[in-house]
Symmetry: C2
Subunit: 380 residues, 2 copies
Amino acid sequence: MQIESLIICPETKARAGEFKTDHGKIQTPVFMPVGTAGSVKSLSPQDLTDTGSQIILGNTYHLLLRPGMDIMQSAGGLHKFMSWKGPILTDSGGYQVFSLGKMNKITEAGVVFQSHLDGSRHSLTPEISMDIQRSLGSDIVMAFDECTSYPATREAAQISMDLTHRWELRSLKYFRETKPLYGHRQQLFGIVQGSVYPELRKVSAQTLTDMDFDGYAIGGLSVGEPKEDMYAMTDVVTDILPQDQPRYLMGVGKPEDLVKAVALGVDMFDCVLPTRNARHGIMFTWDGPISVKAAREKNVHEPLDANCNCYTCQNFSRAYLRHLFKANELLVFRLASLHNIHFYHELMAAMRTAIQAGNFPSFRTDFFNRYNLKRAGGTV
Amino acid sequence: MQIESLIICPETKARAGEFKTDHGKIQTPVFMPVGTAGSVKSLSPQDLTDTGSQIILGNTYHLLLRPGMDIMQSAGGLHKFMSWKGPILTDSGGYQVFSLGKMNKITEAGVVFQSHLDGSRHSLTPEISMDIQRSLGSDIVMAFDECTSYPATREAAQISMDLTHRWELRSLKYFRETKPLYGHRQQLFGIVQGSVYPELRKVSAQTLTDMDFDGYAIGGLSVGEPKEDMYAMTDVVTDILPQDQPRYLMGVGKPEDLVKAVALGVDMFDCVLPTRNARHGIMFTWDGPISVKAAREKNVHEPLDANCNCYTCQNFSRAYLRHLFKANELLVFRLASLHNIHFYHELMAAMRTAIQAGNFPSFRTDFFNRYNLKRAGGTV
């Protein structure tokens, strides 16, 4: 998967480009809203298009358990099931097996786990993960890895990383032996592990690059490690990954993380933060996050951001949004999510424009001068 | 308030017409979605427009308690607060004081009650109800009445009705002495009471007609009485109310109720049923209500109604809707509500077309031949 029209910031490692899938072109850097169970929480496909979403994420673990792959296949895949016409990336299921499922056994073959929903027993192996992602029909498939938990000793991190490399090679081999089910092309990304150890991260990045995936993800970060480790590992890895293929930092992050990671050469991000925070009334603005449920907003008949052109800011005041939260009205979860997802996409688009215009460093300075990380009172 | 372009079915009392408000023209018969607390549950103003909503309802009791009239006035009224540009009808608050609030005292002056939210004490009198509805800025204001509870003896019903008539006269007098706050015209509807006693209903309809309101509501029905009483009372009342003004049957009802009441000469309806049922997966179709949560829908990759042009039916299968319900995904409450509200509006539009075309009786026959009241298994 080639990154085309690539422009690299001369002062940082920030990149702007684009790449193609059979469901459309993606302009980078890009944020991918998370559609866990076949729906980006509270938002319709039309809402996603309206907010500027180019590609969304689906979670293999959740969709495997519910609705299950028999229904998914008879629906004709996830695109048709959820009526999303753009590109979809699916994860391998591994991360959520470890974080949500009840793990029964990890062996060289893969994992056996019990569903957090009904206790039913399932296996996930590199081959099964590829089969599931074939059933989902995602445009971008993730190799099956073990997300090394944090903290991990260097020895444990290396053992985990080596297992991941063997699983990823099996993923790649099996993926190449199988075919898409629905007529459109699927591409496979490898995932770099190595915990917070630069030498392991270098080995992992080089090992995966040598395997020749269609793109590369940086996994095992944003799992509790200090922020400086997250950035240091990202920096090490992007120095090694091929320039002409997309790099995806999994599970990141806050707006300030996106700006910092773009500067380190990352092209793709996903995170539940904008939608989850929205459901709790934490709204993102260029001045920082604000809590629209706060008492000070109750008589503020102004939008969240007077310059924002999302549906929410074009039509509703902070006072109204606060009222809806207080009255527990369903509408507000959508209105809040619309704004936050729109903000994330605007932020990515602004970075892309700055990179293309050659002024990303000053954009970044301006962003951090204005953006007050603590504005919502430490609740973000 | 004149009903214009009035066409009356020769075989029944069904009517098609239109009337004007400062926020737009309303074509009758019309169904009004209920926006209890300043939001039709899960739907945005754009959704309401897209489904064909011409006018919506707001609840005085709910909006008085939250956000309160200080915030409502500083917002510039309910239209601006909730960003709805079409007409709004508000109730008088009386019904919900009796059904939700903790009643402390009913006197000739009015009622004193405690909020169901925080126990705070409030009064509602005809004059206060008018003031609140001036603050809300609704296009159609309802006179303050006592909704006679069911069952009531004839004597109790008469005492209640007489009190209602005195309160309605005070409502009318005070309404005429006060002015709209936001520059657009407001009009006042009287409410006919009289429980299930035809003689009382006749007296009430005549008394209110003599007072000369802008339109007339039929209240105190759909409160537990047998359906045949509801229709009989409606029939008695519409014989007396002026032909050239709108008639509104409050709180009704199911699709079959709407068809029957239109045949009895009713122009306007409101009910929480389409949105409440939607949130429980009960979906209305021309073949009757269905439960989309039922196991039989899990592999049905067809819309609720292949001929429906709502956003939900144009994009999503029953299997997907069922999955969203099972996964408790917020999106489904909106998708289900969109369909049900759209169905209600389509039903009203179909009746209007049939009345105008002179074939309402055959429309009604066809409707009841096709519509299976029990299809959802008695859950509707």
